[in-house]
């Protein structure tokens, strides 16, 4: 059994490590932002990453959006039917998707689909000493490797969230209008009356941009600080999903509270 003094010391060490980790994370984020000029000078690098992060995630995002829309249609109908207001189904589906589910579910899928691949790629680059080799050749690895991936993620995420919401609304329409038989006119007009372009859609876009920044930074940081072993890379990948998802959900609460208060 360890003495209490030792365990307090261990606790202090862990707290200090966490704070140091946070500082290193913010320093890396600052370094990426400070070197972002290359994204404008060599847009080809960014477009390559948007292709890798965005286009390849499109299928999973669209299919998930469709199924989330289906489920929202069925579950929403089940609830609204009790109050005899099935026509509000379109409003329910559109509001839940644009305000909440679109950005959040996309960010969670994005952390799993794109974040992990970013972490693994950078971690393996580090394990293979490619990053060290770059530095030897006087190429700044943050500028050449991290900055394009960061901006690729930040650009791809809002696009994916918008596609998710659009496909979800179509999914809700398929279930509500085509399968259940709600009047299509009421479905769309209730939606248009209730969804505000600035309060709902713009806030959803702001959320998705913030989540894109958060998830991409977490993924890059995890890869950048991964131990240069197979086990270290696998741990870093797990960390991306766990901290990325938690960060998205926490930020979502903060952002929603801010948007409601105004």
């Amino acid at each position: 059994m360890r003495s209490p003094v030792l365990s307090i010391a261990a606790l202090g060490k862990r707290v200090r490590q966490r704070i140091t980790g946070l500082g290193a994370f913010m320093r890396l984020a600052g370094g990426i932002l400070a070197r972002s000029g290359i994204a404008l000078r060599r847009p080809g690098l960014v477009s390559q990453q948007v292709h890798f992060i965005g286009n390849y995630s499109l299928l999973i995002i669209a299919v998930s959006g469709l199924f989330v829309g289906f489920v929202l249609g069925l579950q929403g109908y089940y609830t609204l039917n009790r109050y005899g207001s099935e026509e509000a189904l379109g409003l329910l589906v559109a509001l839940s998707l644009t305000r909440e589910l679109g950005p959040v579910v996309t960010a969670l899928l994005f952390a799993g689909r794109a974040g992990t691949s970013l972490t693994a790629e950078i971690g393996l680059m580090k394990a293979g000493e490619q990053l060290a080799a770059m530095e030897v050749m006087a190429v700044d690895p943050i500028r050449r490797v991290l900055v394009p991936r960061f901006w690729g993620g930040v650009i791809a995420m809002p696009v994916l969230a918008a596609v998710f919401s659009m496909v979800g609304v179509i999914g809700g329409w398929i279930v509500g209008v085509l399968l259940i038989g709600i009047d299509p006119g009421a479905f769309w007009s209730q939606m248009q009356n209730g969804v505000d372009v600035f309060d709902d859609i713009l806030n959803g876009v702001i959320k998705s941009v913030v989540f894109g920044i958060a998830v991409t930074l977490v993924a890059l940081h995890a890869g950048w600080t991964a131990k240069a072993t197979p086990e270290g890379v696998s741990r870093a990948t797990t960390r991306t999903v766990v901290s990325g998802s938690l960060l998205v959900l926490g930020l979502d609460f903060v952002l929603t509270a801010l948007m409601f208060s105004s």
């Binding site: 080809g44 477009s47 390559q48 948007v50 292709h51 965005g54 286009n55 499109l58 379109g90 559109a94 644009t98 650009i155 791809a156 809002p158 696009v159 994916l160 918008a162 596609v163 919401s165 659009m166 609304v169 769309w188 939606m191 248009q192 009356n193 969804v195 505000d196 372009v197 709902d200 859609i201 876009v205």
Partner: protein
């Protein structure tokens, strides 16, 4: 994959995102109800606005003719002032009256304009003289309870207040 091919697919991807946003704004949102027709502003004082909100519709005979531009409190008259943006193509006589109505039982509140008979038309900066406040449900219920209680109490109870007084003011 060549550079050009990548750029093409990325362009297509971003375009898809833009289409999704436009779809959400026009098909799911209220962007299509934004009107860019030229407008003129008139003011109206109300004793009670109820739950009226900025950008609520202004309707006449059920047709949207404008929107509520702003809501303020007039500290001289201790009344609410609503500024209405009316579309130029719709003109109303200067003795028209404005009332705050509710669409449906629990729907949103809007301003209804009932045209008067004057030859002069409302113009930029004019004020609508005849207004009717929002019906506050609690007042209505308390009046109803009060009147039914006094009926049960027989003749010696206090006389029931008259029906909701029309809150028109000069």
């Amino acid at each position: 994959m060549t550079r050009e091919k990548t750029d093409f697919w990325v362009g297509l991807f971003v375009l898809l995102g833009a289409i999704a946003l436009v779809f959400l704004a026009l098909r799911a949102g209220n962007m299509s109800s934004f009107s860019f027709a030229p407008t003129y502003q008139v003011k109206a004082h109300f004793d009670n606005l109820g739950g009226l909100k900025v950008r609520a519709p202004v309707k006449s005979s059920g047709v949207v003719v404008g929107r509520v531009a702003s809501i303020d409190f007039d500290n001289q008259r201790y009344q609410a002032v609503a500024t209405l943006d009316l579309e130029k193509q719709f003109e109303f006589p200067s003795d028209s009256s404005a009332s705050i109505l509710t669409s449906g039982l629990l729907g949103e509140q809007y301003i209804g304009i009932t045209p008067g008979g004057d030859d002069k038309m409302l113009a930029q900066g004019n004020e609508i003289q005849f207004t009717q406040s929002a019906v506050v449900l609690e007042e209505l219920i308390s009046k109803f309870l009060y009147s039914s209680a006094s009926k049960e109490g027989g003749g010696n109870a206090a006389p029931a207040p008259e029906g909701a007084p029309a809150k028109t003011q000069p």
